[in-house]
């Protein structure tokens, strides 16, 4: 009897073990096969595997860069330029997508028939057209139709839009660091204030007008630095210069290249449709009884929205919206199609062409995106756990 049991156990263990061993073996074999082939191929081409090329001189130029860069810098620096450009366009895209998405999501729930319908059509139109086509449309069709440099569209003499890009005034700061510190200080104060207000509300039911005090702090502290801290701000306005009879350029200011504009436009308009749907689902997802209960204990409309509806709606809205932010960041790699120098174009494009190190460069590029995605999903898991309804 004992013996029989033992046999059964063993066979059960084997049943679990065999597929696992086979899977691991299969993966190892595939990896070995690929490695041998890759070594042979690289041997034939006279290159060896390694990341030493990162410190070599890149000797190519990048049209748009946030940090100091030219051909004499290293490939690692070129990678950094591409990464920063990716982050820049993603940040701009996320900012506008959120504003547009929240507005449209709320508009879809409007009582006003026309507003609700317009918002619905916006979502239906922009969600169902491939993003790459929208980028092409803005870049090749819409922005190319802008006037030439010499008859740019003029916004109140401080900002100019033409086919070469959008020229905006540059901020010239003195003592900028003090200004920055004051903002950080204000944010910390606001955080402490909201903690204190929450405490007071929970303990004594006292309401503190947090919003007004916060706004006052946020505007007041930084403007104080102008008065007594010696911070000053002036603007460098772009000016039209004539180089030769027909060649005009804008000097000074900041120029935003059309690639960036069209990419940011397309990304934010496309992603806004998904965020709008999330917002709508979130607001609809709050039980009607919650609002009625809140109203019946005498909360005002603003208090209901702030204390009852929003905390619950945000719990539904934030996880899928973070996912959309991540999608937007990944989608920003479509920049390669219109030659915006993001990480894919600069690194997986130009640098790869020049060095021929396909394996290293593609791995670095994919790992960059992967670590971004994984860190955001780790954050999301933490957030979900923190926000999950604690049932007793």
């Amino acid at each position: 009897m004992n013996f029989k049991n033992l046999k059964l156990n063993l066979s059960n263990k084997n049943k679990d073990l065999i597929p696992q061993v086979l899977t691991v073996l299969f993966i190892i074999l595939v990896v070995i096969y690929f490695t041998i082939n890759a070594q042979n191929n690289m041997g034939n081409r006279g290159i060896s595997f390694g990341f030493g090329f990162l410190s070599q001189e890149s000797s190519f130029d990048i049209t748009f860069s946030l940090i100091d860069y030219d051909g004499s810098h290293s490939y690692a620096r070129a990678f950094l330029v591409g990464l920063l450009n990716t982050i820049l366009v993603s940040a701009i895209g996320i900012f506008f997508a959120t504003i547009l998405g929240v507005t449209i999501g709320i508009a879809r729930l409007s009582q006003n028939y026309l507003v609700a319908k317009s918002a619905e059509w916006y979502v239906e139109i922009f969600r169902n057209i491939p993003l790459i086509l929208q980028i092409f449309f803005w870049y090749f069709a819409a922005l190319r139709a802008l006037p030439l440099t010499v008859d740019s569209i003029n916004f109140y003499d401080i900002s100019f839009l033409n086919v070469k890009g959008w020229y905006v005034p540059k901020f010239v700061w003195s003592n900028f660091s003090l200004f920055l510190y004051s903002i950080i200080f204000a944010v910390i104060l606001i955080y402490l204030l909201s903690k204190y207000a929450q405490n007071q509300r929970d303990r004594y039911g006292k309401q503190i007008p947090t919003l007004y005090i916060s706004i006052l702090l946020f505007i007041g502290l930084p403007s104080l630095t102008f008065l007594i801290g010696g911070v000053s701000l002036s603007f460098e306005i772009p000016e039209l210069n004539q180089l030769s009879k027909t060649v005009y350029v804008y000097k000074g200011g900041v120029s935003i290249i059309p690639e960036l504009i069209s990419l940011a436009l397309a990304l934010s308009m496309y992603t806004a449709t998904f965020i709008a749907e999330n917002v709508r689902a979130g607001i609809l997802g709050v039980n009607k009884g919650q609002k009625e209960a809140a109203a019946s204990i005498g909360l005002t409309k603003g208090q209901i929205l702030k204390l009852v509806v929003m905390p619950q709606a945000l719990r539904i809205i934030i996880p899928p919206t973070t996912n959309q932010y991540l999608n937007l960041t990944k989608n920003s790699s479509l920049a390669a199609a219109i030659a915006y120098p993001d990480i894919v174009l600069v690194f997986a494009g130009t640098a790869l062409m020049q060095t021929g190190r396909a394996i290293e460069i593609i791995s670095i590029t994919m790992l960059t995106y992967l670590s971004l995605s994984l860190s955001i999903s780790v954050f999301m898991n933490w957030y979900n756990k923190k926000m999950a309804i604690k049932e007793k």
Partner: protein
């Protein structure tokens, strides 16, 4: 001064309605004259006020007719739907004015001023869109660079597909099974052979010549058929009790979901050949299909996993208590129910797949959007970018909109069934 006379009430209903309607009417006349006849009827007012005069008139008019429970059904309906507060009235006016101002020029560009007749760019004389461009290039937009004389092969392949799919809706249940098996396993080979040729007296057409809308369909159909079984297996793997299999599946899924498709395509183009023995050449299209399939399979796996998780535990326990093993339990009990649950999710994945196909331009394959890119750089047709992208956008929009509507209907239907 008594302001209450200006407060709309039920007593003087007819006079308020008359005054309000006149004001709203004036606002509309103003904006219509402004946008159609280029004349400003409120010129006598100061510049800035004249600019917003239609808004002011409209707001005042709508304020005057905002009378609750007036007894007039039409008026009540207008008030609740368009005019419930000053802010809502403002939004209503803004939407209507924007439509009046921008829809006619758009329509003019699209239809009334557009050029339809002719064969060259010079035939486009009026100010609207030059649809001649689309007309001339339509063949290329649909078939890519596929030889004209051989295009019947693509048509036949798609015709057979549509007939089979159509037939599967009408034939009895018994035959349906065989048609679906044929569609999934035998038809793809026949279709590919028919289009690529090389045997049976058909001329060989290399995949570089395939393109246009037909390539969009080919890529999406193949990727969908192939990613479905892989995704299902990955989903089962991720829920497996065996750690080695579970972590392999998780790693595989998260790897593909964490990177953008464009880098995957780059990988298939430049990195994948390095991993194969020297001298082996895998066709570009095959490489792209493998890349897209693996990429979408990871997303499909997550969709299927959602279905598996949504099933009540009792289903698993019931199957086990009947003495079923792992595979029999999943194929006979779990998967049929789980897959039915996630049909909308599958449709959404497919939608994303169709929208992703234009990206294959990075390896040099030109489907619809890529062909437009090619056509607009043709020296004889410069400056046609707008028409090309609007056309491509419309085609994709119709495809995706129909599909998303279908999936939404399906979702509703499935909800009522449960």
């Amino acid at each position: 001064m008594n302001l209450s006379i200006l407060k709309p009430d039920k007593k003087n209903l007819s006079s308020f309605i008359a005054a309000g309607s006149i004001l709203v009417f004036v606002a509309f006349i103003d904006i219509i004259f402004n946008s159609f006849f280029n004349s400003n009827i409120t010129e006598f007012l100061p510049n800035k006020i004249s600019y917003i005069s239609p808004l002011l008139f409209g707001l005042l008019g709508l304020y005057l007719i905002r009378i609750e429970f007036s007894g007039n059904k039409l008026l009540d309906k207008i008030n609740t739907n368009f005019n419930s507060s000053n802010f809502n009235a403002l939004l209503t006016l803004l939407v209507i004015f924007t439509l009046i101002k921008y829809i006619p020029p758009l329509l003019n560009w699209f239809i009334f001023d557009a050029n339809f007749a002719g064969n060259t760019k010079d035939d486009c004389t009026s100010s609207g869109a030059c649809w001649v461009f689309i007309k001339v290039w339509l063949n290329r937009f649909v078939y890519g660079l596929y030889p004209d004389t051989e295009q019947w092969r693509i048509n036949t392949a798609f015709l057979i597909l549509f007939l089979l799919v159509g037939a599967s809706f009408f034939v009895p249940q018994k035959l349906k099974k065989y048609i679906i098996i044929f569609l999934l396993f035998i038809y793809p080979i026949i279709g590919l052979k028919l289009i690529s040729g090389g045997d049976f007296g058909l001329k060989y057409v290399e995949t570089g010549a395939w393109g246009g809308l037909s390539l969009t369909f080919i890529v999406s159909a193949f990727a969908l058929i192939l990613c479905f079984p892989i995704g299902t297996i990955l989903a089962l793997g991720r829920r497996s009790q065996l750690p080695a299999i579970r972590y392999t599946s998780i790693g595989f899924i998260e790897l593909w979901r964490g990177v953008p498709l464009i880098t995957v395509l780059f990988m298939s183009a430049v990195m994948f050949p390095m991993f194969l023995p020297d001298g082996t050449y895998v066709d570009k299209l095959i490489r792209v299909l493998i890349a897209i399939t693996l990429f979408e399979a990871a997303y499909m796996a997550e969709v299927v996993r959602g279905g598996l998780q949504a099933l009540p535990k009792g289903q698993y326990e019931a199957a086990k208590s009947l003495g079923m093993g792992y595979w029999r339990m999943h194929f006979l009990i779990i998967l049929p129910q789980a897959l039915k649950l996630v049909i909308p999710g599958i449709a959404n994945t497919f939608l994303a797949l169709v929208k992703d196909t234009p990206l294959i331009f990075v390896v040099g394959l030109l489907e619809l959007a890529g062909m437009v890119n090619l056509a607009k750089t043709n020296p004889k047709w410069l400056g046609m970018a707008m028409e090309g992208y609007v056309f491509a956008g419309l085609v994709f929009w119709v495809i995706c909109y129909v599909m998303s509507r279908y999936s939404q209907n399906l979702e509703k239907k499935l909800k009522t069934e449960r």
